[in-house]
Amino acid sequence: MIPASFDYERASSLDEALSLLAAGGEDARPLAGGHSLLPLMRLRLARPSLLVDIGGIDELRGVRDDGDSVTIGALTTHHEVAGAAALTGGSGLIAKVAEGIGDPQVRHRGTLGGSVAHADPASDLPAALLALDAEVTLAGPGGTRSVAAADFFVGPFMSAADDGEIVTGVRVPKREGWGSAYQKFQRRAQDWAIVGVAAVVNWTDSGIAGAAIGLTNMGGTPLRAHAVEAALTGTSEKAQILAAVSKVSELETPPADENASSEYRLHLAQVLIARAVAEAAGCPGMQR
């Protein structure tokens, strides 16, 4: 399919991009790697009047080590994120997730910011950002602001970003000493997750001292499994973990589609949380 007609501008700075978007009105959209927006345009499900290409804005690209946290620019590709040395400790989750997005072509064109802004409940990075209590940074006509990941994703393909705002990046706490894992379940290697589980775990000699679980494609937004996290804390054995994961059923009813019923998604989530936690804990005794 061929997109409907649209105008195109390429911005050379963030300020220029913001003023182009402001002038373009509500049907203007920023274009980064194009891996979410262009397929929708080709199906004519999205019909922006103007695309503002932000791909050439260098200030939005790159990974910066801020000590306790890492700041990732919106235009950083998934491939670059996957290889970022600054992502240590629990924040290594972001690199693990990025490594499994799509296929090599997607990872070399698709960007972190584009994926976050698209707010697809089936995409992987949002659940990881949620698990890490990351912040999303935005720039708009009124200046810049930060929004907690937990507040950023408000519905399917809906975020807290206002019209005319651009996602400029994310800030991710490192959580040194924590382990991480992303369990992604899909039919084909390049598919979206049927269910994804992003886990960071603080494993100590006495067991799990802390855990955070983000879920992909288990609801209209990425979800935090707070009840599971609470039940996991203080556990150290496989049987206890298996009991804790059943708390995932306290969340909203998972979606049903051609790949999975609600019931099966719920079952998968439990299996995958247990696996992710065991992997993130790095404790062989807890793995199957």
């Binding site: 399919m1 061929i2 409907a4 007609s5 199906l43 296929d103 379940f185 039919r187 084909r188 290697a189 390049q190 598919d191 049927i194 051609e258 790949n259 999975a260 019923s261 099966y264 079952h267 998968l268 299996v271 995958l272 199957r288």
Partner: protein, 788 residues
């Protein structure tokens, strides 16, 4: 001929590849003609709807638009509806099938209007402006629902949704079942599949208004057949139509073995507007408007002794035709009708198939066409029999194999040439290390973990070399099964091979070059193969059903022999000896006993061209033709083995090993044969694990793009292990059989049998295709007494 080994059998690089690998392929989308217009179709969004009105005025007034028409506007263009060439019974119901629907749209994607503009973009934009008033009717999309009482009728003019019922009985079937110790009865569904050729369909029709001639470029597998059918559909003399399948057509798998609405439409629009008209399918548009495959419900019963010796078979099939009958759709189940007994014996056989209309995209031949369905049913059911009588699945196959030999009578009614099924099974078991596998499996089961392994077998026999024309007549197919070749030596010693096959990825240019180079004793590089243009290659029945080598390739071989015969006469004349005093080897005739008195093929080609001195009664030129009508089908066979690891917690299936041992007779090019096996196996595994087109009750195609119609990529497959046995066919002088579909035919049941084997200790006996993780998980839950 010592040189016979020179190219044939060798893995010479494909001549087709350099241009494809460097982006120089000449595909139809790249064709632009002066003044060319572009068509875009408006398609029904409803599974069944009466068309109350079509208003094209806004579209016609849009920028760049030249014309816009409803189905009614175009009704006068058609001398006949779109063709259907296989009326399998005398009482078959054949509905009218207009390129653009006139009164009722019968599936989502049925064309209801067309817009023609100066650019493709303008046509697509304007197509959105066509306003159609529909009265939405009840649709029926499921083949069993369609034959139930009170089902909505796809065609109001017929009493119900049945198109035809075709039956075949051999032997005393009731008797065989009456005396059986064991009867297994199984029901299988063949999911609907969407063919995914790399290149979507496209067509360009160019008129010459002053003469009434048309040149039609189409991404077709069948340029010659299409030419005849375009003439009948459009009322244009066949002599005024030239059809060209471009030198590169990007795959078909049967989906381009058809005559489509858009082809007829572009010709009609070119005739009406006096300008070339082009249409190119989008991928998702192709999902609606290009034929689908499979979509059958099968019931198979096997009667056997308590030892597992098969006595008889009963098979009942419901086969979805979709909303209309496409070119050979009714015959597709017949291509499998003789094979529900596989390569096994027995005394009696009954097959019955009902073709059913549903409000869906029409089905037709898709890679294997009838044979994957038949092979799936028998290869799954024989595993059920093995379980029932407590015999190992490899052993039960061996026990029931037809005896080795030539023209071995099958219970299905056909006589199989070159039957020798045990060596392929033995080789597959050896590659697998069957005993080692079973001991690994026992260990896993003992361990009780969540990763269990299983092995599945599929010993298939199939039918290629379509087809003896007289046999086609008995099956009511409306064309012959021959093919044609002309081999022409050029004055400089090069050769042209003109073939009636129409390659679209198979590598005929390479294979035909190998055959001709060996026969004529000239370098492989010196052979050019011409194909796909009805002005260049006037005769052909084209490429489908793994027929090309065993029919068109044999025609090339025979034509080469005739060229050598003529060359022998000329050589004898020039060397002043009798023809029988000459020896021929590697393109050189030499006088027996006087080896330095010779004439080479290039020398003779030049002499034949100058014609300065020819034998009496001989004509200038060195060229011969052959139209080859095969005396019998060919019957390739083999054993495929799948090894899977199943995650019993999630239901995920990991294909760990895939072994294919095929017997397609002597191999012209092992690289090409391996490629066909790899691609075919991938498509069969895709059916077993991934692909399924589904419709909502209102007729909406739910799997409308590659996002949710799951075509697997290389990442989903292990490295395939291929091997061969070689049992030459006795039906043709080269002994060749065909390999284009074997991989697809053999693979799906092997994979599902492996999944069932992996879970058999949990009580699982069946998992439907495609074996999605949820289906596998539910099968485990059901077997364990939980809810399914």
């Amino acid at each position: 001929m010592a040189t016979a080994e020179k190219y044939v059998g060798g893995g010479v690089p494909r001549k087709e590849d350099p241009k494809l690998l460097t982006g120089q392929g000449q595909f139809l989308e790249g064709l632009t003609l002066p003044g060319m217009l572009h068509a875009a179709l408006v398609r029904s969004p409803h599974g069944s709807a009466r068309i109350d009105s079509v208003d094209v005025s806004a579209a016609a007034a849009a920028d760049g638009v030249v014309a816009a028409y409803s189905g009614a506007d175009l009704a006068d263009e058609w001398a006949a509806g779109l063709p259907m060439a296989w009326p399998v019974t005398d009482d078959i119901r054949i509905p009218d099938h207009w390129p653009v629907a006139q009164d009722v749209a019968r599936y989502v994607g049925d064309a209801v209007a067309v817009v023609v503009a100066t650019s493709r973009n303008a046509a697509l934009d304007a197509a959105e402006l066509v306003e159609v008033d529909y009265e939405v009717l009840d649709a029926v999309v499921d083949v069993e629902a369609a034959v139930a009482d009170g089902a909505p009728r796809v065609h109001e003019s017929f009493d119900d949704n049945k198109s035809y019922t075709w039956a075949l009985t051999n032997g005393e079937v009731d008797e065989a079942f009456a005396k059986a110790d064991v009867v297994v009865k199984e029901r299988y569904t063949q999911p609907r599949l969407i063919p995914n050729a790399m290149e979507p369909r496209a067509v360009v029709a160019q008129p010459v208004p002053s003469t009434g001639d048309f040149t039609v470029w189409s991404t077709t597998q069948i340029p010659h057949v299409a030419k005849v059918l375009f003439a009948l559909t459009l009322g244009i003399p066949e002599s005024q139509i030239r059809v060209i399948a471009p030198s590169d057509v990007g795959g078909g798998f049967g989906s381009k073995l058809n005559v489509y609405a858009e082809e007829a439409l572009c010709i009609a629009l070119a005739r009406r507007l006096g300008k070339p008209v082009k249409w190119v399918a989008g991928r998702s548009e192709g999902y609606l408007a290009t034929i689908h495959g499979r979509d059958q419900v099968q019931e198979i019963e096997i009667a056997a002794t308590s030892d597992g010796d098969i006595l008889g078979y009963r098979v009942h099939i419901l086969a979805a035709m979709g909303a209309y009958l496409q070119l050979v759709a009714p015959g597709v189940p017949l291509l499998g009708a003789f094979l529900y007994c596989g390569c096994y014996g027995g005394e009696a056989y009954h097959f019955e198939c009902t073709g059913v209309f549903t409000n869906t995209t029409p089905t037709d031949a898709y890679r294997g066409a009838g044979r994957p369905e038949a092979t799936y049913a028998i290869e799954r059911a024989i595993d059920s029999l093995a379980r029932e009588v407590g015999v190992d699945p490899a052993e039960i196959r061996r026990r029931n194999f037809l005896p080795a030999g030539d023209m071995v009578q099958s219970p299905g009614g056909l006589a199989f040439d070159s039957a020798d099924y045990e060596p392929a099974l033995d080789r597959a078991l050896e590659l697998l290390d069957y005993d080692g596998f079973r001991s690994d499996q026992a260990e896993r089961r003992e361990g009780g973990g969540s990763r269990q392994i299983g092995v599945g077998f599929s010993s298939y026999v199939e039918i290629c070399g379509l087809a003896p024309s007289q046999v086609l007549a008995s099956l009511k197919y409306a064309a012959g099964g021959w093919d044609a070749a002309t081999v022409r030596m050029l004055p400089t010693g090069k050769a042209e091979v003109v073939t009636g096959s129409s390659p679209h990825g198979q590598g005929h240019v390479t294979s035909w070059s190998q055959i001709a180079a060996d026969a004529l004793g000239i370098p492989y590089e010196d052979v050019t193969v011409l194909h796909g243009d009805t002005h260049v290659a006037p005769h052909g029945m084209n490429t489908y059903g793994s027929r090309s080598l065993a029919v068109a390739g044999v025609a090339v071989h025979n034509a080469c022999d005739r060229v050598v015969d003529k060359a022998r006469g000329l050589a004898a004349h020039l060397l002043e000896v009798a023809p029988e005093d000459l020896e021929y080897e590697a393109g050189i005739f030499s006088v027996k006993g006087v080896p330095d008195r010779t004439k080479s093929m290039p020398e003779l080609a030049f002499a034949a061209w100058t014609a300065h001195s020819l034998p009496e009664d001989s004509e200038p030129g060195l060229e011969a033709s052959c139209v080859y009508d095969p005396p019998n089908f060919t019957f390739p066979f083999g054993t495929h083995v799948a090894v899977v690891e199943v995650d019993t917690e999630t239901g995920a299936v990991d294909l760990v090993r895939y072994i294919a041992v095929d017997d397609c007779g002597p191999v012209i090019n092992p690289v090409i044969v391996d490629g066909q096996v790899h691609g075919g196996v991938a498509q069969g595994i895709a059916a077993a694990l991934y692909e399924e087109a589904t419709y909502a009750e209102d007729g909406t195609l739910e799997t409308s793009s590659m996002v949710n119609y799951l075509v697997p990529s290389a990442a989903e497959f292990p490295s395939f292990e291929t091997d061969r046995t070689v049992t030459p066919s006795t039906s043709n002088p080269m002994g060749v059989k065909g390999i284009g579909e074997a991989g697809t035919i053999g693979s799906a049941p092997a994979v599902i049998n492996a999944i069932v084997d992996a879970l058999s200790h949990l009580g699982v006996t069946d998992v439907p295709m495609p074996a999605s993780p949820e289906r596998v998980w539910r099968a485990i839950q059901a077997a364990q007494g939980g809810e399914a």
